[in-house]
Subunit: 168 residues, 2 copies
Protein backbone atom coordinates (compact mmCIF):
# COMPACT_ATOMS: atom_id res chain seq x y z
CA UNK A 1 0.00 0.00 0.00
CA UNK A 2 1.28 3.45 -0.92
CA UNK A 3 -0.37 6.60 0.34
CA UNK A 4 -2.11 8.61 -2.39
CA UNK A 5 -4.53 11.51 -2.70
CA UNK A 6 -7.34 8.91 -2.75
CA UNK A 7 -6.17 6.89 0.27
CA UNK A 8 -5.54 10.14 2.18
CA UNK A 9 -9.08 11.43 1.60
CA UNK A 10 -11.92 9.00 0.76
CA UNK A 11 -11.34 6.39 3.52
CA UNK A 12 -10.90 9.18 6.12
CA UNK A 13 -14.18 10.82 5.12
CA UNK A 14 -15.96 7.44 5.13
CA UNK A 15 -14.77 6.74 8.66
CA UNK A 16 -15.39 10.24 10.02
CA UNK A 17 -18.86 10.73 8.52
CA UNK A 18 -19.92 7.18 9.38
CA UNK A 19 -18.88 7.83 12.97
CA UNK A 20 -20.73 11.17 12.93
CA UNK A 21 -23.90 9.42 11.78
CA UNK A 22 -23.65 7.00 14.72
CA UNK A 23 -23.01 9.95 17.07
CA UNK A 24 -26.21 11.58 15.74
CA UNK A 25 -28.03 8.30 16.35
CA UNK A 26 -27.05 8.53 20.02
CA UNK A 27 -28.26 12.14 20.04
CA UNK A 28 -31.64 11.05 18.64
CA UNK A 29 -31.95 8.26 21.24
CA UNK A 30 -31.09 10.73 24.02
CA UNK A 31 -33.78 13.16 22.83
CA UNK A 32 -36.32 10.32 22.61
CA UNK A 33 -35.50 8.98 26.09
CA UNK A 34 -35.66 12.42 27.73
CA UNK A 35 -38.68 13.64 25.72
CA UNK A 36 -36.60 16.54 24.38
CA UNK A 37 -37.61 18.02 21.04
CA UNK A 38 -34.93 17.22 18.48
CA UNK A 39 -34.79 20.88 17.48
CA UNK A 40 -33.45 21.78 20.92
CA UNK A 41 -30.32 19.72 20.27
CA UNK A 42 -30.12 20.46 16.55
CA UNK A 43 -30.12 24.20 17.26
CA UNK A 44 -27.73 23.95 20.22
CA UNK A 45 -24.41 25.76 19.93
CA UNK A 46 -21.32 26.26 22.11
CA UNK A 47 -21.25 30.05 21.69
CA UNK A 48 -23.89 32.47 20.40
CA UNK A 49 -21.86 33.20 17.27
CA UNK A 50 -20.95 29.60 16.47
CA UNK A 51 -23.02 27.39 14.18
CA UNK A 52 -25.54 25.02 15.76
CA UNK A 53 -25.34 21.23 15.56
CA UNK A 54 -27.34 20.86 12.34
CA UNK A 55 -25.10 23.32 10.48
CA UNK A 56 -21.94 21.59 11.76
CA UNK A 57 -23.16 18.36 10.12
CA UNK A 58 -24.05 20.11 6.87
CA UNK A 59 -20.60 21.72 6.64
CA UNK A 60 -18.83 18.41 7.36
CA UNK A 61 -20.85 16.92 4.48
CA UNK A 62 -20.13 19.85 2.16
CA UNK A 63 -16.40 19.81 2.87
CA UNK A 64 -16.05 16.09 2.12
CA UNK A 65 -18.12 16.05 -1.07
CA UNK A 66 -16.50 19.28 -2.23
CA UNK A 67 -13.08 17.71 -1.81
CA UNK A 68 -13.65 14.58 -3.85
CA UNK A 69 -15.48 16.48 -6.60
CA UNK A 70 -12.85 19.23 -6.87
CA UNK A 71 -9.89 16.84 -6.80
CA UNK A 72 -11.62 14.76 -9.51
CA UNK A 73 -12.39 17.90 -11.51
CA UNK A 74 -16.17 17.48 -11.61
CA UNK A 75 -18.91 19.87 -10.51
CA UNK A 76 -19.54 19.89 -6.76
CA UNK A 77 -22.98 18.36 -6.10
CA UNK A 78 -25.19 20.72 -4.09
CA UNK A 79 -27.35 19.45 -1.24
CA UNK A 80 -30.01 21.84 0.11
CA UNK A 81 -29.52 22.71 3.80
CA UNK A 82 -33.06 21.84 4.86
CA UNK A 83 -32.59 19.10 7.47
CA UNK A 84 -34.73 19.51 10.60
CA UNK A 85 -34.31 16.12 12.32
CA UNK A 86 -31.56 13.70 13.27
CA UNK A 87 -32.93 11.24 10.68
CA UNK A 88 -32.70 13.84 7.93
CA UNK A 89 -29.10 14.69 8.91
CA UNK A 90 -28.25 10.98 8.92
CA UNK A 91 -29.84 10.70 5.48
CA UNK A 92 -27.66 13.57 4.28
CA UNK A 93 -24.57 11.82 5.62
CA UNK A 94 -25.67 8.59 3.89
CA UNK A 95 -26.03 10.48 0.59
CA UNK A 96 -22.62 12.09 1.16
CA UNK A 97 -21.04 8.71 1.89
CA UNK A 98 -22.61 7.20 -1.23
CA UNK A 99 -21.37 10.10 -3.33
CA UNK A 100 -17.84 9.88 -1.91
CA UNK A 101 -17.81 6.10 -2.45
CA UNK A 102 -18.66 6.66 -6.13
CA UNK A 103 -15.24 8.20 -6.81
CA UNK A 104 -12.40 5.93 -7.85
CA UNK A 105 -8.68 6.20 -7.08
CA UNK A 106 -8.09 6.85 -10.77
CA UNK A 107 -10.22 10.01 -10.56
CA UNK A 108 -8.47 11.43 -7.50
CA UNK A 109 -4.89 10.17 -7.50
CA UNK A 110 -2.30 12.49 -8.97
CA UNK A 111 -4.25 15.64 -8.01
CA UNK A 112 -1.49 17.00 -5.74
CA UNK A 113 -0.68 19.93 -8.02
CA UNK A 114 -4.15 20.52 -9.45
CA UNK A 115 -5.27 24.14 -8.96
CA UNK A 116 -8.24 24.35 -6.60
CA UNK A 117 -10.18 27.62 -6.39
CA UNK A 118 -12.61 28.19 -3.53
CA UNK A 119 -15.05 31.08 -3.78
CA UNK A 120 -16.02 32.82 -0.55
CA UNK A 121 -18.06 35.95 0.05
CA UNK A 122 -14.76 37.61 0.91
CA UNK A 123 -13.02 36.55 -2.29
CA UNK A 124 -11.25 33.58 -3.84
CA UNK A 125 -8.72 31.28 -2.29
CA UNK A 126 -6.35 29.22 -4.41
CA UNK A 127 -4.64 26.00 -3.35
CA UNK A 128 -2.75 23.13 -4.87
CA UNK A 129 -4.70 19.89 -4.46
CA UNK A 130 -2.34 18.71 -1.71
CA UNK A 131 -2.53 21.99 0.23
CA UNK A 132 -6.33 22.04 -0.16
CA UNK A 133 -6.58 18.53 1.33
CA UNK A 134 -3.95 19.16 4.03
CA UNK A 135 -4.76 22.66 5.24
CA UNK A 136 -8.43 23.14 4.39
CA UNK A 137 -10.36 19.91 3.92
CA UNK A 138 -9.03 17.64 6.68
CA UNK A 139 -8.93 20.33 9.41
CA UNK A 140 -12.45 21.43 8.46
CA UNK A 141 -13.99 17.96 8.23
CA UNK A 142 -12.63 17.06 11.66
CA UNK A 143 -13.43 20.49 13.09
CA UNK A 144 -17.11 20.12 12.25
CA UNK A 145 -17.34 16.44 13.25
CA UNK A 146 -15.64 17.28 16.57
CA UNK A 147 -17.81 20.32 17.24
CA UNK A 148 -20.97 18.30 16.52
CA UNK A 149 -19.71 15.70 19.03
CA UNK A 150 -18.75 18.43 21.53
CA UNK A 151 -22.22 20.03 21.30
CA UNK A 152 -23.91 16.71 22.07
CA UNK A 153 -21.43 15.91 24.88
CA UNK A 154 -22.01 19.36 26.33
CA UNK A 155 -25.75 18.61 26.35
CA UNK A 156 -25.26 15.38 28.25
CA UNK A 157 -25.35 12.75 25.51
CA UNK A 158 -23.26 9.76 26.58
CA UNK A 159 -20.51 9.57 24.01
CA UNK A 160 -16.86 8.55 24.16
CA UNK A 161 -13.84 9.02 21.96
CA UNK A 162 -14.55 5.67 20.31
CA UNK A 163 -17.83 7.04 18.99
CA UNK A 164 -15.91 9.91 17.41
CA UNK A 165 -13.19 7.70 15.91
CA UNK A 166 -15.69 5.18 14.56
CA UNK A 167 -15.71 1.42 14.24
CA UNK A 168 -12.37 -0.32 14.09
CA UNK B 1 4.94 17.09 -5.47
CA UNK B 2 3.71 13.63 -4.58
CA UNK B 3 1.84 12.92 -1.38
CA UNK B 4 3.79 10.75 1.07
CA UNK B 5 3.62 9.67 4.69
CA UNK B 6 5.80 12.69 5.51
CA UNK B 7 3.83 15.28 3.54
CA UNK B 8 0.58 13.84 4.96
CA UNK B 9 1.73 14.21 8.57
CA UNK B 10 4.51 16.67 9.48
CA UNK B 11 3.21 19.77 7.63
CA UNK B 12 -0.31 19.14 8.99
CA UNK B 13 0.94 18.92 12.58
CA UNK B 14 3.06 22.03 12.10
CA UNK B 15 0.06 24.00 10.88
CA UNK B 16 -2.41 22.62 13.45
CA UNK B 17 -0.16 23.00 16.51
CA UNK B 18 1.10 26.39 15.39
CA UNK B 19 -2.52 27.54 15.08
CA UNK B 20 -3.32 26.04 18.48
CA UNK B 21 -0.47 28.01 20.04
CA UNK B 22 -1.89 31.24 18.59
CA UNK B 23 -5.36 30.27 19.86
CA UNK B 24 -3.87 29.81 23.34
CA UNK B 25 -2.24 33.22 23.00
CA UNK B 26 -5.71 34.72 22.49
CA UNK B 27 -6.92 32.80 25.56
CA UNK B 28 -4.08 34.26 27.63
CA UNK B 29 -4.85 37.80 26.40
CA UNK B 30 -8.54 37.29 27.24
CA UNK B 31 -7.69 36.14 30.79
CA UNK B 32 -5.34 39.10 31.22
CA UNK B 33 -7.90 41.64 29.95
CA UNK B 34 -10.71 40.28 32.12
CA UNK B 35 -8.54 39.65 35.19
CA UNK B 36 -9.48 35.96 35.08
CA UNK B 37 -7.05 33.48 36.60
CA UNK B 38 -5.53 31.39 33.83
CA UNK B 39 -6.40 28.22 35.75
CA UNK B 40 -10.11 28.96 35.33
CA UNK B 41 -9.77 28.62 31.56
CA UNK B 42 -7.11 25.89 31.64
CA UNK B 43 -9.37 23.73 33.80
CA UNK B 44 -12.54 24.51 31.85
CA UNK B 45 -14.28 21.61 30.13
CA UNK B 46 -17.38 21.11 27.99
CA UNK B 47 -18.76 18.24 30.08
CA UNK B 48 -17.85 17.00 33.57
CA UNK B 49 -16.33 13.81 32.15
CA UNK B 50 -14.39 15.44 29.33
CA UNK B 51 -10.78 16.59 29.66
CA UNK B 52 -10.12 20.26 30.46
CA UNK B 53 -8.35 22.66 28.12
CA UNK B 54 -4.81 21.98 29.40
CA UNK B 55 -5.19 18.24 28.88
CA UNK B 56 -6.59 18.74 25.36
CA UNK B 57 -3.37 20.57 24.45
CA UNK B 58 -1.17 17.91 26.04
CA UNK B 59 -2.91 15.13 24.11
CA UNK B 60 -2.67 17.04 20.81
CA UNK B 61 1.08 17.33 21.49
CA UNK B 62 1.41 13.66 22.46
CA UNK B 63 -0.46 12.42 19.41
CA UNK B 64 1.68 14.41 16.98
CA UNK B 65 5.05 13.54 18.50
CA UNK B 66 3.99 9.91 18.97
CA UNK B 67 3.13 9.71 15.29
CA UNK B 68 6.41 10.97 13.87
CA UNK B 69 8.47 8.91 16.33
CA UNK B 70 6.54 5.68 15.72
CA UNK B 71 6.50 6.05 11.94
CA UNK B 72 10.26 6.72 12.05
CA UNK B 73 10.76 3.75 14.39
CA UNK B 74 12.37 5.67 17.25
CA UNK B 75 11.40 5.88 20.90
CA UNK B 76 8.54 8.27 21.60
CA UNK B 77 9.88 11.24 23.59
CA UNK B 78 7.97 11.74 26.83
CA UNK B 79 6.95 15.22 28.01
CA UNK B 80 5.73 15.53 31.61
CA UNK B 81 2.13 16.80 31.86
CA UNK B 82 2.91 19.60 34.31
CA UNK B 83 1.82 22.77 32.49
CA UNK B 84 -0.15 25.24 34.61
CA UNK B 85 -0.21 28.36 32.42
CA UNK B 86 -0.89 29.35 28.84
CA UNK B 87 2.82 30.19 28.44
CA UNK B 88 3.84 26.70 29.59
CA UNK B 89 1.38 25.08 27.19
CA UNK B 90 2.72 27.26 24.38
CA UNK B 91 6.24 26.20 25.34
CA UNK B 92 5.17 22.57 25.15
CA UNK B 93 3.76 23.17 21.68
CA UNK B 94 7.01 24.90 20.66
CA UNK B 95 8.99 21.87 21.89
CA UNK B 96 6.60 19.56 20.04
CA UNK B 97 6.95 21.60 16.85
CA UNK B 98 10.76 21.56 17.13
CA UNK B 99 10.74 17.81 17.67
CA UNK B 100 8.41 17.19 14.72
CA UNK B 101 10.54 19.48 12.51
CA UNK B 102 13.59 17.38 13.37
CA UNK B 103 12.28 14.39 11.41
CA UNK B 104 13.13 14.10 7.73
CA UNK B 105 11.04 12.70 4.89
CA UNK B 106 13.59 9.87 4.60
CA UNK B 107 12.74 8.77 8.16
CA UNK B 108 8.98 8.75 7.67
CA UNK B 109 8.30 8.02 4.01
CA UNK B 110 7.53 4.41 3.15
CA UNK B 111 6.03 3.67 6.58
CA UNK B 112 2.57 2.80 5.20
CA UNK B 113 2.86 -0.90 6.09
CA UNK B 114 4.97 -0.54 9.22
CA UNK B 115 3.37 -2.26 12.21
CA UNK B 116 2.40 0.25 14.88
CA UNK B 117 1.44 -1.03 18.34
CA UNK B 118 -0.30 1.28 20.79
CA UNK B 119 -0.54 0.23 24.41
CA UNK B 120 -3.61 1.31 26.35
CA UNK B 121 -4.78 0.42 29.84
CA UNK B 122 -7.39 -1.73 28.12
CA UNK B 123 -4.88 -3.58 25.93
CA UNK B 124 -2.94 -3.21 22.73
CA UNK B 125 -4.09 -1.87 19.42
CA UNK B 126 -2.25 -2.71 16.20
CA UNK B 127 -2.30 -0.66 13.02
CA UNK B 128 -0.44 -0.38 9.77
CA UNK B 129 1.36 2.95 9.54
CA UNK B 130 -1.20 4.27 7.05
CA UNK B 131 -4.20 3.21 9.16
CA UNK B 132 -2.55 4.66 12.28
CA UNK B 133 -2.11 8.03 10.55
CA UNK B 134 -5.54 7.97 8.89
CA UNK B 135 -7.81 6.61 11.59
CA UNK B 136 -6.02 7.42 14.85
CA UNK B 137 -3.51 10.26 14.56
CA UNK B 138 -5.23 12.79 12.29
CA UNK B 139 -8.71 12.44 13.87
CA UNK B 140 -7.17 12.71 17.35
CA UNK B 141 -4.89 15.67 16.62
CA UNK B 142 -7.79 17.63 15.14
CA UNK B 143 -10.21 16.43 17.82
CA UNK B 144 -8.05 17.86 20.60
CA UNK B 145 -7.14 21.07 18.72
CA UNK B 146 -10.83 21.62 17.96
CA UNK B 147 -11.98 20.88 21.49
CA UNK B 148 -9.37 23.27 22.91
CA UNK B 149 -10.71 25.93 20.51
CA UNK B 150 -14.33 25.05 21.39
CA UNK B 151 -13.61 25.36 25.14
CA UNK B 152 -12.16 28.85 24.67
CA UNK B 153 -14.99 29.89 22.31
CA UNK B 154 -17.53 28.59 24.82
CA UNK B 155 -15.87 30.78 27.47
CA UNK B 156 -16.16 33.88 25.32
CA UNK B 157 -12.70 34.19 23.76
CA UNK B 158 -13.00 35.92 20.40
CA UNK B 159 -11.77 33.36 17.89
CA UNK B 160 -12.75 32.52 14.35
CA UNK B 161 -12.23 29.58 12.03
CA UNK B 162 -9.12 31.27 10.63
CA UNK B 163 -7.49 31.04 14.04
CA UNK B 164 -8.14 27.30 14.04
CA UNK B 165 -6.90 26.77 10.48
CA UNK B 166 -3.77 28.85 11.04
CA UNK B 167 -1.78 31.24 8.91
CA UNK B 168 -2.02 30.86 5.18
Amino acid sequence: MTISMYTASVPLFTRALGALSAVLGKGAAFAEARKIEQAVLLQSRLAPDMFPLARQVQIASDTAKGCVARLAGVEVPSFPDTETSFAELQDRLARTLALVAGFTPAQIDGSEDKEIVLKFRTGEQRFTGLDYLSFFVLPNVYFHCTTAYDILRHNGVELGKRDFLGAR
